[in-house]
């Protein structure tokens, strides 16, 4: 069986094509267009670049875009007031605050100010709670993209065993819940114990979100398993892979490496897809995941 290294751009392209087709279909039913609001605090160059990229993508699709730039000195109250304005604005169905926010601010309070129904980045506690309880809400873009990747790879989920190797679970925990909702059995390893290889070998879907480069060896993999390498990025020093790629590639059916950061092209595509979902919801159409 030929080994498949799943290509981010290819999958992203397919999802994008789906969005274009859906917009086409929607344009026959309504004159309205989806709208995305963005709140940017400060002038972090990476954030500004990311915002421009998101803006470009949205404009290309004919979205309405409302970007609010606030100075780095803006108070929590200033930011929340801007967020509330966008919450009320019916032209905007999706809304997010660009991260990172200046460290002096209480990120938690600002993220919770966003209307959960417009929280297309899936950062509001209510959306986290919906995911936890198995209800339909907005998935964080990274997690949403991984679920799409699994489906694109043709990897069945129901009744399969997923194993997550992750200490902090930034991506893995919500991903585990999303997989659980789709009827996978999930094992979560927050520690690197002696019998880790044995646990990994039970996995039909193995998710490595580990800070230890090259931790997962070829003989830890169940033949035919799908492997998702999330790795971790620390201090922007690039990404460390948790797997020994060459070895793992010989055993796994396919491998996907999640691009670093929350602003990868794939994550932005998912942000747009979530905005489209939000738009359809306000139009009274069915939300599909």
């Amino acid at each position: 069986m030929p080994m498949k290294l799943l290509n981010e751009a290819e999958i992203g392209g397919k999802i994008y094509a789906g969005i274009v087709a859906e917009l086409e279909e929607l344009s026959q039913k309504t004159d309205k267009v989806p709208g995305l609001g963005m709140v940017v605090v400060g002038e972090d160059p990476a954030s500004l670049a990311s915002i421009r990229c998101k803006e470009k993508q949205c404009r290309k699709l004919g979205f309405y875009v409302d970007i609010r730039f606030l100075p780095a000195t803006a108070s929590q109250e200033d930011i929340c007031a801007t967020v509330r304005q966008l919450n009320k604005d019916s032209r905007v169905q999706g809304l997010f605050c660009q991260l990172p926010l200046p460290e002096t601010l209480q990120k938690k309070n600002i993220l919770a100010a966003v209307d959960p129904g417009k929280d297309v980045c899936g950062r509001h506690p209510i959306n986290a709670g919906k995911l936890f309880s198995g209800n339909q809400g907005f998935l964080p873009c990274n997690v949403y993209s991984l679920m799409q990747v699994i489906d694109f790879a043709g990897q069945p989920i129901r009744g399969k065993t997923a194993v997550m190797i992750s200490r902090r679970g930034v991506v893995s925990r919500p991903l585990a819940l999303a997989l659980l909702r789709r009827n996978a059995s999930v094992t979560f390893c927050p520690v690197l114990t002696g019998n880790l290889p044995e646990i990994c070998r039970t996995a039909d879907i193995l998710v490595a979100e580990t800070e230890k480069p090259g931790l997962i060896k070829g003989n830890w993999i169940k033949p035919g398993a799908m492997v998702i390498d999330i790795g971790t990025t620390r201090n922007n020093r690039g990404k460390a892979s948790g797997i020994v790629l060459k070895e793992v590639a010989e055993v796994a059916s396919c491998i996907f490496t999640l691009p670093a950061g929350e602003d990868s092209p794939l994550a932005i595509t998912m942000l747009i897809k979530n905005t489209l979902h939000a738009f359809k919801q306000t139009c009274g159409m069915q939300l599909q995941h």
Binding site: S133, G137, G159, L180
Partner: protein, 280 residues
């Protein structure tokens, strides 16, 4: 050798002592904790549980009001009552679980004000469960953690298997165990080859509602087995674990009744007191 029995009754007695101290402290600050229970009159078993809760409150000196509604109560009437309770200053927590099937518990739970939710079923409170120090833990899960603690076994680096993925038990217990650096598997009705999971478990938590689902062959020798199931078969209450078989293999086991059940009411009240303390 037979398993040691984890007695929910004994644990409850200790927790109640702690509750008394907390209530006295609140009193000094001028806070009288108040609980509202909303229950539908039928079946009688629900009213019975509500009365047990009321009695526990009376013994501890917590104000408790049971709203016993007729069976044909509409959702609108129910919502109306919840709205009243949400704004009543003397009420610090609202208990609506369990509800009859024609009420969707998940959607009704969202109508309770998040700061009066003591069950841990409001989305906002559930969303915080994945954090390291969740502000509110669903009470049944909290009780289970308490029972596990009493064994004194250090589970760090060990394997736990949770059978059942409910929002009140399975998932919160899993999240809490992860915070304690335990390896956790969540299994459920769609799991293929359940035995292969349970056989590895140093800690097995079962909450499925299938009488005697877990048999002796499925349990690792010396494991801690927590049985959350309460099933009425004939006139007897049995758990999800085949007690008499499993107790020969397990190291620790909770009986049904007398295991998880008694602890949950105390934990509901613990959550209530936390709410009351934060209300000032």
């Amino acid at each position: 050798m037979a398993a040691k029995v984890i007695s929910g009754v004994q644990v409850t007695r200790k927790v109640r002592e702690e509750l008394r101290v907390k209530i006295a402290t609140l009193r000094k600050k001028g806070i009288a904790p108040g609980l509202a229970i909303v229950v539908l009159k039928n079946p009688a078993a629900r009213v019975h549980v509500a009365r047990l809760k009321e009695r526990a409150c009376r013994q501890l000196g917590i104000k408790c009001k049971v709203h016993c509604l007729p069976e044909n109560t509409t959702k609108e009437e129910f919502i109306q009552l919840l709205k009243q309770l949400n704004t009543a200053p003397e009420i610090h927590g609202i208990n609506i679980h369990p509800l009859p099937p024609h009420f969707n518990l998940t959607s009704v739970s969202q109508l309770v004000a998040p700061n009066k939710d003591i069950e841990g079923l409001h989305f906002q409170n559930m969303g915080n469960l994945c954090k390291d120090s969740p502000p509110l833990i669903p009470y049944v899960a909290k009780g289970i953690m308490k029972l596990i603690e009493t064994t004194g076994v250090n589970l760090e680096n060990k394997q736990a298997v949770v059978v059942g993925r409910s929002e009140l038990v399975g998932k919160p217990v899993a999240a809490l165990l992860l915070n304690k650096r335990v390896i956790v598997s969540i299994c459920h009705s769609q799991t293929i080859d359940l035995v292969s999971f349970t056989k590895r478990a140093d800690l097995l938590v079962v909450a499925t509602g299938n009488p005697r689902l877990i048999t002796a062959e499925m349990v690792k020798k010396g494991a801690i087995v927590i049985d959350v199931g309460v099933n009425l078969t004939g006139t007897r209450l049995v758990g999800d674990v085949d007690y008499w078989g499993v107790e020969k293999v397990a190291g620790w086991i909770t009986p049904v009744p007398g295991g998880v059940g008694p602890v949950t009411i105390s934990m509901l009240l613990t959550n209530l007191l936390d709410r009351a303390a934060r209300s000032s």
